[in-house]
C-alpha cells in the first residue's frame, strides 16, 4: 500500500517576499477565487497540477519552491 503523503506549501512566505502580495492578487493571477487560495495556503485543499503551476508562475518560481511533501510518519532527509 502506498505511503500517505501530506502536501505542504510556502505560499505565505512567497507572498511576503513578493511585496506582501495579497491573497486576492494571487487569486487573480492564478485565475481562481480568493477562497481557493485561502484553502490552498491553509493546506485544506490540494490544487490540481495545472493550478499548482499557475501559482508557481504567479511568483515566478519553480513548482518545487511552492509545494513540497512529507511522508506521514516520516521526516524528510
Amino acid at each position: 500500500m502506498p505511503k500517505k503523503i501530506e502536501i505542504t506549501n510556502n505560499i505565505r512566505r512567497l507572498r511576503f517576499f513578493a511585496n506582501e502580495m495579497t491573497q486576492q492578487e494571487l487569486a487573480e493571477k492564478a485565475g481562481v477565487s480568493r477562497q481557493t487560495i485561502i484553502a490552498v495556503e491553509a493546506g485544506k485543499y490540494s490544487p490540481s497540477l495545472e493550478l499548482a503551476f499557475r501559482i508557481a508562475d504567479a511568483f515566478g518560481v519553480a513548482i518545487g519552491e511552492v509545494f513540497d511533501y512529507t511522508v506521514v510518519g516520516e521526516t524528510k532527509k
Partner: protein, 168 residues
C-alpha cells in the same frame, strides 16, 4: 463568509421554501378532501408545477443575487475611493463570481451525497409499495427525498468549504 458559501445558503433556503410550499399545498388539498384516492394525475401535475417553480426560482434568485452582489461591490468600492475606475470594479466583481476547480470538486462531492439520498428515497418508496402503501405515497417519498437530498447537498457544500477538501 465567501460568495460561494452565501450562494449555497441562498439556494438551500430556496429549495426549503419550495419544498415547504409543496407540502402545504399538496397535503392541504388532501386534508381538504379535494384529491381522490389514486388520483395520480393530481400528484403528477402538482409535482411538475413545483419542479418548474423550483427551477424558475433558482434562476431568478441567481440573477437577483448576482445583481445585488455587483451593486454591493460597486458601492463599497466607490465609498472606499470616489475615483475607483469602472474597469477595476468590473474586475473585482468577476473575481468574486469566479467558479474554479475547488468549487467544482465540492459541487461534485456534494452532488454525490444528494443523489445517494434520492436513491435511498427511491428504494424506500419501492419498499413502501411492497408493504401495501399507495402509488401516491411512493411518488411523494421519491419527490421529497430528492428535494431533501438537494438541501442536504447544500449542507455538504458548506461543510467542505469550511473543512477543506481532498481529491481522493
Amino acid at each position: 463568509m465567501s460568495t460561494q458559501e452565501k450562494r449555497t445558503i441562498v439556494m438551500m433556503i430556496t429549495g426549503a421554501l419550495v419544498l415547504a410550499a409543496y407540502c402545504i399545498y399538496a397535503f392541504g388539498q388532501v386534508n381538504a378532501g379535494a384529491v381522490m384516492p389514486g388520483d395520480l394525475k393530481f400528484w403528477a401535475r402538482t409535482m411538475l408545477i413545483f419542479i418548474g417553480i423550483g427551477v424558475a426560482a433558482t434562476i431568478v434568485i441567481q440573477i437577483v443575487y448576482a445583481i445585488l452582489l455587483s451593486v454591493g461591490i460597486a458601492v463599497s468600492k466607490k465609498i472606499q475611493d470616489q475615483n475607483f475606475k469602472d474597469e477595476e470594479i468590473e474586475k473585482s466583481i468577476k473575481a468574486e463570481m469566479v467558479e474554479d476547480e475547488m468549487d467544482k470538486l465540492i459541487e461534485l462531492k456534494a452532488n454525490r451525497v444528494g443523489v445517494t439520498l434520492g436513491g435511498f428515497g427511491f428504494v424506500a418508496a419501492l419498499i413502501l409499495v411492497l408493504l401495501g402503501y399507495s402509488t401516491a405515497v411512493m411518488l411523494n417519498v421519491i419527490f421529497i427525498s430528492f428535494s431533501v437530498g438537494s438541501i442536504i447537498e447544500g449542507f455538504v457544500q458548506l461543510y467542505y468549504y469550511r473543512k477543506g477538501i481532498r481529491h481522493a
